[in-house]
């Protein structure tokens, strides 16, 4: 099979990844432990789109997944095509939207960096930017050099944070894939998802036990 065919035929797996992240974020109350990133908070926020063919359900709000609409869409055969998550790792929090079929990231808000947008203007209290009086003493070339250095630094910081998020998602994907391609997916995960989507309670400990000992690298509450 050609690479392009393999890519196209497996795009649905991205939807299942979002479904699994959503499901487990509710079962484990938004907290999970990963092998490489330790304790991580992950829960749905802002936007959730589910679809099946041309039928789309879009839900927006602070907790879009908690209403019945979202679960009813699942029971009607729809799966998530894009979902926004809040991620917390240690002191840091970020928000991002994942597009299922391409695993593309959008609206990635990196608070550490984006706070710069609210930074005081030059001359305001708390500003570290040069005041107008000081600026007069710099040449145009110096200003340009400084701007370039600042932009490079900001870029590097943003890329470092983006890579951290990518690495977390790749770790979660690896965990998901191990489960998805094992018999436990059909025997334990899908039945638990059906119970959850129908409004039933899924016992986190029992759900983990149903997957067998050592089935998961380290996760859940």
């Amino acid at each position: 099979m050609q690479l392009v065919d393999r890519i196209e035929k497996r795009r649905f797996v991205g939807r299942e990844l979002l479904l699994w992240l959503w499901f487990e974020s509710e079962v484990f109350d938004g907290t999970r432990t990963t092998k490489d990133h330790g304790d991580v908070g992950l829960w749905l926020v802002r936007e959730l789109s589910l679809s099946s063919g041309k039928e789309v359900t879009r839900i927006q709000g602070a907790a879009p997944a908690l209403g019945r609409d979202a679960k009813e869409a699942l029971l009607a055969g729809k799966l998530p095509e894009r979902a926004s998550f809040k991620v917390s790792m240690g002191e840091r929090e970020a928000e991002l939207t994942i597009k299922a079929e391409t695993l593309g990231l959008s609206g990635v808000r990196l608070p550490t960096v984006l706070d710069d947008g609210d930074a005081p203007a030059p001359g305001e209290l708390g500003s570290t930017a040069p005041t107008r009086a000081r600026r007069r003493r710099t040449t145009v070339e110096e200003d340009a050099d400084r701007e370039r250095d600042e932009a490079a630094l900001a870029f590097q910081e943003r890329m470092s944070l983006a890579r951290e998020i990518e690495s977390l998602l790749e770790g979660l994907y690896a965990e998901f894939l191990a489960l998805r391609l094992s018999p436990r997916w059909g025997s334990a995960v899908v039945p638990a998802m059906r119970t959850w989507a129908s409004g039933g309670r899924v016992d986190a400990a029992r759900y983990l036990r149903a997957q067998g000992p050592g089935a998961r690298g380290g996760r859940g509450a």
Partner: protein, 207 residues
């Protein structure tokens, strides 16, 4: 779309095959060779795609310090396209048709005449209106083979793949569930399970 301001939106691509070494001088020459070239109103070309400076759509000769930032190769993907508003084109075409009919003393133009007239009017408008300019930040990390394109639109992604191949002789593959799985490594057993996997549904009737 910007990599340096606001929230980040991007698509990832991976260089197919082994990550190559990228000698800066050679890479920069290749970038300059494939730098963006503005559209010319009298030429047939409707779209132009080429490199510009990262974050600066109108700087078409980025220097080494602009392009090589730590382990990244940063570039701007500029895409210009003639975009004459339909209403304006129709209005100008109506006037031109009326003028030509009066000149020829006829009531109708042939299909070929109409086609030629539309081309002439379009060309005249292209002299009056600037093309639509879009630029997207692109950041390539040659060590890991990842290219980040700071938009998720399909058009720029296609343009990037073609331009990247022409410039660096390297093929890009867009990220997807399959490519990520392949990068993570698949055993023969998993490959087999993967080949047999059917989409999951929670549809009530499917129970």
């Amino acid at each position: 779309m910007s990599a340096t301001r606001g929230s980040l939106t991007y698509a990832r691509f991976f260089v197919r095959g082994d990550a190559p070494e990228v000698p800066p001088a050679r890479a920069l020459r290749a970038v300059h060779l494939h730098a963006f070239r503005p559209l010319v109103p009298d030429e047939e070309q409707k779209e132009s795609v080429g490199w510009c400076r990262f974050g600066e759509a109108f700087d078409l000769q980025p220097g080494q310090d602009d392009v090589f930032v730590d382990e990244f190769v940063n570039l701007g993907l500029r895409v210009d396209r003639w975009a004459v508003p339909g209403a304006l084109l129709r209005a100008r075409l109506r006037d031109a048709e009326a003028e030509l009919l009066a000149q020829k003393g006829r009531e109708r133009l042939t299909r070929a005449e109409k086609k030629e007239l539309k081309e002439q009017v379009s060309r005249r408008l292209r002299h009056e209106l600037p093309p639509r300019t879009r630029a997207f930040d692109v950041s390539w990390a040659p060590g890991s083979g990842v290219v980040r394109l700071f938009t998720q639109a399909a058009g720029p992604a296609l343009a990037l793949g073609e331009l990247f191949k022409r410039t660096f002789k390297l093929e890009l593959v867009a990220e997807s569930p399959y490519t990520l799985s392949a990068r993570l490594g698949m055993s023969a057993a998993r490959e087999a399970a993967w080949a047999d996997a059917e989409p999951t549904t929670l549809l009530e009737e499917a129970r």
